[in-house]
């Protein structure tokens, strides 16, 4: 218990160190353009799943892309065409997805790696491309997508792009987490109470285990609820888990 608490406080101290990395989403553009060049693609898009929500309401949204606004294909047409398939795939597999465009010449090929990629429905979009699924865990999930008129991509490039896509999604997650981090840092006692409440203990049991009175436990849970900007302790527990305060 003490060990895990020490870890918690360490992870709370870390954001200041990470702060140096990226300040806004636009900082990711140069990296994505470099990746796009590496793949010999014309455009990129980063798709992300909404963090929470019902399975039926889960959806992908485009958070970054460089499709020109006047072109006939954009990130939204990719989402319209493949959104549900992409979401489903993200739940079960990490294999890259390729698709061919409407024209006969718009093909996406990877001759040396075909066993490790899956294909989306062909001839839906006026571009071909590759979608790399990124799944970090309960948060930071989505895709990096590269579109082109013609794509011949080697295993080496796919693997490298996929590793870089993961890194980018992690940096984006750090950026998002910092925004949603609570104003005040939770105290160790508050974290301990939240943890035990999340483990199914009622206030009396928590009090017994921590050697506090029931009222003190309730007070800690109430202050944690306020700090986490929640309306009740259940929402506070949900938020505390998502933010990584408790396991």
């Amino acid at each position: 218990m003490t060990e895990s608490r020490a870890r918690e406080s360490k992870s709370l101290a870390e954001p200041t160190k990470r702060q140096m990395k990226a300040v806004s989403r636009s900082d990711f553009f140069p990296r994505l353009v470099a990746m796009q060049r590496f793949a010999h693609a014309r455009n990129f898009a980063v798709l992300k799943t909404n963090n929470s929500g019902l399975p039926s309401r889960r959806k992908l949204t485009c958070i970054l892309d460089n499709f020109p606004s006047d072109s006939e294909v954009g990130a939204s047409s990719i989402l319209d065409a493949y959104g549900p398939t992409l979401l489903e795939h993200l739940e079960v597999s990490s294999l890259p997805l390729l698709w061919n465009g409407k024209e006969d010449t718009q093909t996406a090929e990877t001759p040396d790696f075909s066993a490790f990629v899956l294909r989306l429905k062909n001839r839906v979009l006026p571009v071909c491309g590759i979608a790399l699924p990124v799944r970090l865990g309960s948060m930071g999930n989505g895709y990096t997508v590269f579109a082109a008129n013609y794509l011949d991509i080697t295993s080496e490039i796919i693997i490298d792009l996929h590793a870089r896509s993961h890194q980018m999604m992690m940096d984006l997650l750090v950026l998002d987490e910092r925004r949603s981090a609570p104003d005040e840092v939770l105290s160790n006692r508050e974290i301990a109470c939240l943890q035990l409440a999340g483990d199914g203990l009622v206030s009396e049991e928590i009090a017994g285990q921590l050697g506090l009175s029931v009222h003190t436990v309730n007070a800690y849970l109430a202050s944690a609820t306020v700090k986490l900007d929640s309306v009740n302790r259940i929402q506070a527990i949900a938020k505390a888990i998502r933010l990584g305060y408790i396991a």
């Binding site: 870890r7 739940e91 990490s94 948060m139 590793a163 409440a197 527990i237 933010l243």
Partner: protein, 251 residues
Amino acid sequence: MGDFVASAKLDRDMQEMPAIPPAAAARRPLSAEQLIERLKASAEAADVSAGLRALTNYVGADGYLLARHELNSENGLDNVISSDWPFDLVCKRGIELITQLSRTTELDKCLSTLHPAFSMLPEESELPAGASREYCTIIFNSGRNRYVLMFICPSDVILSQQRLKEAGVLASYFASLLFHDTTRTSRDMDLTDRELECLYWIAEGKTSDEIATIIGISKNTINNYITSVMRKTATRTRSEAIAYAVRHNLV
């Protein structure tokens, strides 16, 4: 309990241990092309240990251990899928290491995906010949499943970060091809859409009364759904049920 399951699984796996000592096989690392060929063949033959041996060889390590981070295990004990570590080492240390890992927070785990992390085994561990006490851990995901891949580092060579990352990506592809069936079963447990909908609103801080207004069904029905969720997930309180749902990525 968890120990027993893990070691029983291992027992089966240990019998398939390669005749060649892993240390000797690792001397001449595979090229990237060779690795992809070997992985492809192993995936087609559904031979987990052959694929992992190829990956181990590619990174130049002396031994591997692959475990699945079980979502439904109460105590966070993970399942060892395959390993060529000496039996004792897996039983004593492997499981200890994975349990240790499962104590980190979800955010930390998300942020360490595909990052090779190096640590030291305790002094008294018995190791394969030529191996050092250092080992490398890579976390990767395939669909909803999280896996932990561990390599024992050789004593004379430093493993390439680049190759370790590539091995992580390839291992996730390999797992996607091989364990495709197992991913679906763990999905959403056996909760119904209505139950999930209730869980979602509770996690957003709504009371039963408010949810009744939102969904348009009676408060008692809502409470019945919650009771049924708690029964299915074997949780005692609403708080625990929500914690369970958030941990398992249901809401």
